[in-house]
């Protein structure tokens, strides 16, 4: 009290210290002190873990009670091969798995679609066309204990229908299904660019799945509101924070407008963040996100259930921070990033394999990625203390600053007509493209150092073992699909299609007709075509 240490510059005014900015563009001082957090009130602004405003974590005991979910990617090529991979991960101690889809599935096309040629089962994703594929994918996996994260967006309603029909077949009650559907359509328009329909009907499909899960799958997270892809497309951590929350508030508002009580669905909303190289910026981003979410849900949306105030987040280390040069360095990058996610209080974590900048991970690189998390959990002891950086002058000040800046951006989006309007007028695309460009320029001119790339570079790289994708897989997959399609009852299929189009038109929830549809053998590509015939398609303008 009363003691105000001099800043470094004050101690020696003649000494020049170069200003430094973090990835978000905020200036970082060489030293922080009590004066930087003077207005901070522990009770009101920070609080205990598990208590409002949840800055210190969403649960009272955090990892002392249960370590974060170690969630690794389990999908590659054909569904049966992906199934082997999932089983292997479960045996190695993973408590959840993420299922990535292949490019044709992401774009709503069956494996036998001419546009899918050459891309089936590639890009580390699994091809899901029909109920048969879902059966093969999850064969022998206990759906009540393993949490399945579907990295699925535009096609989420269809994937959810397939998942539910499979559970029914296996006699697992829907109420016991665990896991997450990414299902965040807004960020598709902002960053990832895999959408089928214009924003409004797409948003409505997302709300249909949220409503359906709300009624039938209480343990399942129907949406994972994702900043990860925004960041991968070039958004700064601050933009990631602000845009993700703006999207989240849009879903909340839509849910309320659709007649749901806020406390009925908000507790199931979950988030997905990226951790990049800047350690403290990562930590501040998570802490600021928890405070903004808690306060807005309570004050603006009048949520009463504390579960609605909790910002639960899955984290992935940064794929775009990995370099193809001196690839082994990526193990170190991933470790630092993962450590920041844990210190920031993530609920689950995916660590990237070091060879991802080049290709689909190999068993070796996948094992190292998994072990990285286990070493952090069991050897580093960082999980023993909750929110260990709280009270740090720097981290608290940075948390405040990230929060204030994010709120300013969220307000600007509101003032510009909200998220959908800002998608349509190109605001997000422009902001993200500008950040991506600035980052690349900083790397080009050496302002931002990337070890092994623009500094400490070496000549030739060592050879790395890479995993092959079986080239015959596509042919087999197409043949199997054709066989499947020829064995269906055309009249049942037609009736299901008609019911689906009808629901799209009238605004009824699409889930019931989709469930009947996939039971009748309707494929993913066919379901998308039915919906597109009502909703139309969408194309963005190019913004640099």
């Amino acid at each position: 009290m009363g003691l105000k240490p001099k800043s470094i510059n004050e101690q020696n005014p003649d000494k020049h210290i170069e200003p430094v900015r973090n990835m978000s563009g905020l200036e970082i001082k060489p030293l922080y002190g009590p004066e930087d957090i003077q207005s901070l009130s522990y009770e009101a602004d920070i609080g205990r873990p598990g208590e409002f405003p949840y800055v210190r974590g969403v649960y009272p005991y955090m990892y002392r009670e249960r370590v974060w979910t170690i969630r690794q990617l389990g999908s590659l090529g054909p569904p049966d091969k992906a199934n082997l991979r999932i089983r292997q991960l479960v045996e190695m101690g993973a408590t959840g798995v993420s299922i990535c889809l292949d490019m044709p599935t992401i774009m709503g096309r069956d494996s036998d679609d001419p546009m899918a040629e050459g891309e089936v089962g590639r890009c580390g994703g699994v091809a899901i066309d029909t109920l048969d594929d879902m059966r093969a994918l999850l064969e022998g996996i206990d759906l009540e204990t393993i949490s399945i994260n579907f990295v699925s967006n535009s096609q989420s309603a269809i994937i959810l229908a397939l998942f539910c029909v499979l559970a029914e077949e296996r006699g697992v009650p829907l109420s016991k299904l665990r896991g997450t559907m990414q299902n965040d359509i807004l960020k598709e328009y902002q960053a990832q660019k895999s959408y089928y329909f214009p924003p409004s009907p797409s948003l409505r499909l997302t709300m249909d799945t949220i409503a359906f899960c709300h009624d039938n799958l209480p343990l399942f997270n129907p949406i994972s509101i994702s900043g990860y892809h925004l960041a991968s497309a070039g958004a700064t951590p601050l933009q990631e924070l602000a845009f993700t929350l703006a999207n989240a508030f849009t879903y909340v508002r839509e849910g309320i407008n659709a007649g749901m009580a806020v406390d009925a669905f908000a507790p199931r909303l979950s988030f997905f963040f990226k951790v990049h190289n800047d350690f403290f910026e990562n930590v501040a981003k998570f802490r600021a996100a928890r405070r903004i979410w808690a306060r807005t849900m309570k004050d603006t949306f009048k949520a009463k259930d504390p579960a609605s105030w909790r910002f639960r987040v899955h984290t992935q280390t940064s794929g775009s921070s990995l370099t193809a040069q001196q690839m082994e360095n990526n193990i170190v990058r991933t470790t630092i990033q993962a450590l920041s996610a844990v210190i920031a209080g993530t609920q689950s974590l995916h660590t990237n394999s070091f060879d991802e900048a080049l290709s689909i991970p190999t068993p070796l690189s996948e094992r190292i990625a998994l072990r990285t998390q286990q070493i952090i959990a069991h050897e580093s002891a960082v999980a023993s203390t909750i929110d260990p950086l709280a009270g740090s002058y720097f981290v608290e000040a940075l948390t405040n600053e990230m929060e204030a800046e994010a709120l300013r951006i969220i307000q600007a989006i509101e003032d510009n007509g909200g998220v959908v309007a800002c998608i349509e007028n190109g605001y997000f695309q422009k902001e993200i493209a500008e950040s991506a460009f600035a980052y690349q320029q900083a790397v080009q001119n050496g302002e931002r150092i990337i070890v092994g790339l623009n500094a400490y570079a070496e000549g030739e790289e060592g050879k790395i073992e890479l995993r092959e994708v079986d080239p015959d897989f596509e042919k087999e997959k197409v043949a199997v699909l054709k066989q499947f399609k020829s064995n269906r009852d055309p009249s049942a299929l037609e009736a299901a299609g008609k019911a689906l189009r009808e629901a799209c038109r009238t605004g009824e929830n699409v889930m019931p007709p989709l469930l009947s549809g996939v039971k009748a053998g309707m494929s993913l590509g066919e379901a998308v075509r039915h919906m597109r015939s009502v909703f139309g398609s969408y194309r963005e303008k190019a913004i640099f």
């Binding site: 490019m103 096309r109 891309e119 590639r122 070039g234 900048a357 493209a433 991506a436 460009f437 050879k463």
Partner: protein, 135 residues
């Protein structure tokens, strides 16, 4: 006569929508004084080659990020040959395994720039290898 402005087609091909790299490269090439014709996402090899003809492009640059490089590279090369675009450079950037680079070159691509390569190298390569005359 020498070239007044070098024209470069920048495109994605196939179903992959990750356009960050393509956009950033397009912007950096503009800064370097090139005229960049940006085709965006979901292009077919046919559309890319036709654009190169109509725009009389000096360079076709494609961004691959989803393991599609071995599928589309030979298709584009073949169409370029068929249309007689022998003096047009074909380059690709993105992520692929190192051992695929000789394979792609064998297929007929002129040069490959892997993820993380600085755009300076691409700019230098184009300036050194672009066709000299237009007549």
């Amino acid at each position: 006569m020498s070239r007044e402005r070098i024209k470069v087609i920048i495109s994605k091909v196939g179903l992959d929508g990750h356009d960050r790299g393509a956009k950033v490269v397009a912007s950096l090439l503009r800064e370097a004084g090139f005229e960049v014709i940006y085709l965006g996402m979901y292009q077919t090899p046919e559309a890319i080659v036709k654009a190169a003809i109509d725009e009389d492009a000096d360079v076709i640059g494609v961004s691959y990020l989803s393991g599609e490089h071995l599928v589309f590279t030979p298709l584009i090369v073949e169409l370029m040959r068929k249309e007689g675009l022998d003096d047009v450079l074909f380059v690709a950037g993105g992520s692929f395994p190192p051992e695929d680079i000789p394979v792609m070159k064998e297929m007929g691509i002129d040069e490959v720039f892997r993820g993380g390569t600085l755009t300076d190298e691409l700019i230098r390569y184009i300036k050194e290898n672009v066709r000299e005359t237009q007549e």
